[in-house]
Symmetry: C2
Subunit: 476 residues, 2 copies
């Protein structure tokens, strides 16, 4: 029998941990706080990477690679930056059997090590914009690791750009955020809210931070990507200057932006159900899994021939797996791929062969349908498209149904106690109110959405006129 997992509705945290381990996405590594990303989880990440890399390059960005090590003196150059990151730093102090002359911080983010290099690459306005991206491992000390969501080491992409004007930098920061938003919607089937971070939540050293926030099915928010207009702070500190058309020296403007393996966590949390994962077809390692059913070796042989021809005919367009193992029952295979979230299961038994058909079983809505052999190829594509759309629709509906607009603090607190979700409310922009709400309810300002209502109400906390309508939520 296949091992059961905890119901998501009963204990979402336990469910998450079990799904990640039993679907073989990842596991806690023997190294405390780190994770091992297993092939099935890594294949998801590779699919995410391939799409994002292509889209990032379309923005005129080029990949490069900078050192893991950051001399402690670099990271201390920008005051806010080091204050923000100091508690998370892991530091190497020995090398080649000796104490290092200067301790080396393992990159918790690469602004400082990259920006120490940029001045050498930029002379005049002709060298701008400079748009660089790197795929790298990142190290941040975590006391309470959760696989994919928060681990000491994780994988990400970090874009770093330099511009001649503030306007261009702002445009770039928004463009990157928009890319993340569209990627989440079109590939991960997750609808997110785009907006600005409050001062207290912004990136250490940035002028303005932007984020996309997704609502997970347990009602908690997940920050899925960030983009920062860094202004000129780092440029000042690292001397990133350029000669303008009049041959006058100018200080440059910068942005940085990134998404990480946390996106895998988002997929799990946004779509999964009591039976396990549900993967959007566009990024699923296997979009369809064929479970052949036989009673004799003759039947198996017949199935082998037919299925081999079928899979060969589908080509590389569709990622497909056939479960041939002799030692597992069909029932075990069904459960396994439900748990592992394959978008579509295709059953083929001896009776189906007689009738010249197969049976499609969708993971998202569990609908069964018999498909004639010569219709498989067409039907596969349309069904996968339909699953992708349906998952997004479900997620959008969930977001809408769990976004509560409130105008009293009592209502605010009641929602957080009873059902969670996103809460839309007015905010006066004072840190005091933000802090009070956080300490009383554990909810934080996730974003100040770009889309603002025409009329603003009052601050949910102090009652003064609101400066923004913001999204509050408990967050991962």
């Amino acid at each position: 029998m296949f091992q059961k997992i905890t119901k998501k509705s009963e204990d979402s945290n336990k469910w998450y941990e079990e799904v990640v381990e039993k679907a073989k996405l990842a596991e806690h590594s023997p190294v405390k706080g780190c994770m091992t990303i297993r092939p099935y989880g890594y294949a998801l990440w590779e699919n995410i990477q391939a799409i994002l890399d292509r889209e990032i390059k379309k923005m005129g960005v080029k990949n490069a690679y900078f050192p893991l090590f950051i001399p402690k003196s670099f990271i201390e150059k920008e005051k806010e930056h080091i204050e923000g990151f100091a508690p998370e730093c892991v530091i190497a102090t020995e090398g080649g059997g000796k104490k290092l002359e200067e301790p080396l911080v393992l990159r918790p983010t690469s602004e400082t090590v990259i920006y120490a290099t940029f001045p050498k690459w930029i002379r005049s306005y002709r060298d701008l914009p400079l748009k660089i991206n790197q795929w790298a491992n990142i190290i941040r000390w975590e006391k309470r690791p959760r696989l994919f969501l928060r681990t000491i080491e994780f994988l990400w992409q970090e874009g770093h750009t330099v511009h001649a004007t503030e306007k261009e930098a702002e445009k770039m920061a928004r463009e990157a955020l928009s890319l993340y938003h569209d990627f989440a919607r079109n590939y991960l089937a997750i609808e997110t809210i785009q907006g600005q971070k409050s001062e207290s939540e912004k990136f250490a050293g940035a002028l303005r931070s932007y984020a996309i926030e997704g609502l997970m099915s347990d009602g908690k928010a997940l920050q899925m990507g960030t983009s920062h207009n860094l202004g000129q702070e780092f440029a000042k500190v690292f001397g990133i200057k350029y000669l303008d058309k009049n041959n006058k020296e100018q200080l440059a403007w910068q942005t940085s932006w990134g998404v990480s393996t946390r996106l895998v966590g988002a997929i799990i949390l946004a779509h999964g159900d009591d039976k396990g994962l549900i993967l959007p077809p566009k990024i699923a390692p296997y979009q369809a899994v064929i479970v052949p059913i036989w009673r004799s070796s003759d039947e198996k042989k017949m199935l082998e021939e037919k299925i081999e021809r079928l899979v060969g005919g589908l080509g590389k367009e569709i990622r497909i797996k056939v479960e041939w193992q002799d030692n597992l029952t069909p029932g075990f295979k069904f459960n396994k791929w439900e748990l592992k979230g394959a978008p579509l299961r295709i059953e083929i038994g001896p009776k189906d062969l007689e009738k010249n058909q197969v049976v499609f079983i969708r993971r998202d809505d569990e609908k069964k349908e018999s498909i004639k052999w010569d219709q498989i190829s067409n039907k596969l594509k349309t069904t996968l498209d339909d699953i992708q759309k349906n998952l997004l629709k479900k997620n959008q509906d969930f977001l809408q149904n769990n976004t509560h607009t409130v105008d009293s603090y009592d209502q605010f607190k009641k929602i957080l106690e009873e059902k969670s979700g996103f809460i839309k409310a007015g905010w006066c922009e004072s840190e005091a109110c933000e802090e009070k709400i956080k300490s009383e309810t554990k909810a934080t300002i996730r974003v100040i959405p770009f889309k603002q209502p025409k009329k603003l109400g009052k601050c949910i906390c102090c009652g003064k006129p609101a400066k923004h309508e913001v999204i509050f939520a408990k967050a991962y």
Copy 2:
């Protein structure tokens, strides 16, 4: 004027350093001993990665990701392994503002951290072979860094497999080496010698190590890839066992194998000349660079129209760049792309437009040819193919002409003093002779080639009957 570079024939080391920096492949990072891989160099690595990743997956290997950190106690488990790697370890001792409970070694290679995990993934023979690969950054302390060839941090792929039998493990180790050999020949246009490493040169902890060795154009050898039959040593230490068909517990057999960003160094050293890089078309970031030449803005406009249509028509098959900058002279652009090693330069001036032609200039043999407009697409493909073949042919000829079979130690020493290269000679298999030769001539046994002559002569050092014919060389 374009900056000149040191002649390769005059000072190969200086030439290398200058080419790497001026062609913008990489540079020494502000972090001592590390390198920054710039977009042009990284694009080379991305092309290498894409091909290798595809070929590795064809062997049934799956990608995964394991932690950067290795607890010191893990790496100390296998005695030979830690002896080999201890001098190269960089160690993190602080995290989150506190001293770490156990110092963490930054992976100098990942055998120990991966093999501590494998026992959880393997129960029976049905789980074998287990074939895993990871793309990762690697940390080895280096006192004398050289860009791409030897830096404290570098990028690589490391394959790790587990098998039921010694035979299968041996087959796998050979298959991986063979993949590297074919990749070097077919894509990098470098002919390498495949063979076994001597005991003193093998991987710390391996049963047998294999390598491919290339001969660089300065007569020095470069180890370009290694593959190890690890036997059962690590399996013993980490408890990697499986139940066989009779339900009996057995110790597993393992392999590991890898290539790194060092391959970029190999390309530079193998093909470059006094003018700079020469990149094989199959992995060049830009296979062809178009240099348009105009005297008036009207001429520029005409060129823009025509070239845009041309490049659009070539599609994604061919990686092409057009040099439009107003502030650089055509001569500067020619020199720039000679230095950067673009396989083919295409010049189009007003006179060419009149004649409905362009001029192809090959980087490898400097041949010029006028090509009619409607022939460009076909001719591009055949010319790039021809350049790829020619580079390999040149490299093969060079290898042949610089591989010297000797039967006296005097001759041996004379060659090393005068012209270097590979020296084929008999070896009695004693470490004493190997050591003596190394200390007297700086030449080491690069490989014991798989291809052995029918009759073996005498040991070049002691004169006793040779057990193998081996390749000696000075190496990077």
